[in-house]
Symmetry: C2
């Protein structure tokens, strides 16, 4: 909520949600959000919890497109997801706010001064999201598994400000994120360990370089 409603008084936050006919949902673990989303274009805002946006292609390959936590945002327009090819899965109990995107772009709200601020906040959240995409592209662009891993670690280290990294997901999911074979990645991690570049214990990775 923080980001989307930054510089908007709490009393006006409720008004915006009403104007937009937003719905708040709390869902248990392991459900597909598309069961609950009926609009074509929507924005979802995670109040608390964790969801993953997953694409299954015709080869049976599964790709994690996004892995999202509190205050993150997702949606058909933003993420380019559709219920035909994608799943939005809650990884734990999650509370989301659903907004009809078409209402956001509707002109009639412009008379509310706080709505302008709302749009700016939305803009900020979305540009942050583009940064994430760029990082992912940066990683996927590397030609070897080793370089993908190192780039990923580097980005994570910069974000967290430490070289002791706690992976936000399992190694299986990491392989999906990097779009490489899990076994091949496991092998490469072993080499990196043997060559003294990293130390690994469960999901904690220490960068030694």
């Amino acid at each position: 909520m923080d980001q989307l409603f930054a510089n908007i008084k709490p009393s006006n936050q409720g008004k915006i949600l009403k104007l937009l006919e937003a719905n708040r949902l709390t869902l248990p673990k392991n459900v597909n959000l598309f069961t609950f989303i009926l609009n074509e274009n929507f924005i979802g805002l995670i109040e608390k919890g964790n969801i993953q946006i997953i694409k299954n292609d015709y080869n049976g390959n599964k790709t994690i497109i996004e892995d999202l936590y509190d205050e993150n945002i997702f949606g058909s327009m933003i993420t380019g997801i559709s219920n035909k090819e994608h799943e939005i899965i809650t990884k734990e109990e999650t509370t989301i706010i659903l907004i009809d995107y078409d209402r956001i772009l509707d002109l009639e709200y412009q008379k509310y001064e706080y709505y302008n601020q709302f749009l700016k906040n939305l803009l900020k959240i979305i540009t942050d999201k583009i940064q994430d995409k760029n990082e992912r592209i940066e990683i996927l662009t590397k030609k070897t598994i080793r370089n993908k891993l190192l780039e990923y670690f580097e980005i994570l280290a910069k974000k967290r400000g430490t070289r002791i990294l706690y992976l936000p997901f399992s190694l299986t999911e990491l392989a999906d994120y990097l779009a490489v074979d899990r076994c091949a990645m496991s092998r490469e991690l072993k080499y990196l360990k043997e060559e003294g570049f990293i130390k690994v214990s469960t999901r904690r990775i220490t960068l030694l370089y």
Copy 2:
């Protein structure tokens, strides 16, 4: 201009540009925009021309991050580019409008009713850009050169509504975009031709499946 100023009267368009202290520049072919951009955070809007945003990594690998034409938008916040690692190169004579991004997010403009529309237009442009990123990720996620090519062709075909495709850039640049070795890609294109999947003549590719 069209997209960014959709539903804004021409007279107000000029006012917005003035409010934002926007600069219009016309640049010759093959110059690096960073020579002209001094702000930390900026948005560039292409009125006419073609630019590429290129990243050079420490291995000397060059990656085309974006290939942009008329009415497209780019910028530090949107594209995550910085003059340390990136080049913004004009591929032909190009006219751009440069806007200080920080001014856009500044609150004092909210009293102008057309400014709200401007923000909404910006939002739309940016969400479109996310779609592009998603497509790129979709492609990079494929594990073989063949599948990357086919995914790329498929996306292009859907966009253009035809299975006769004119590539928007050279094969060398396409290899960069797909993040694969040019020679290996050339070989794979040959196989695709031999197996009757595609026909190629210069930059025209016909999908036969």
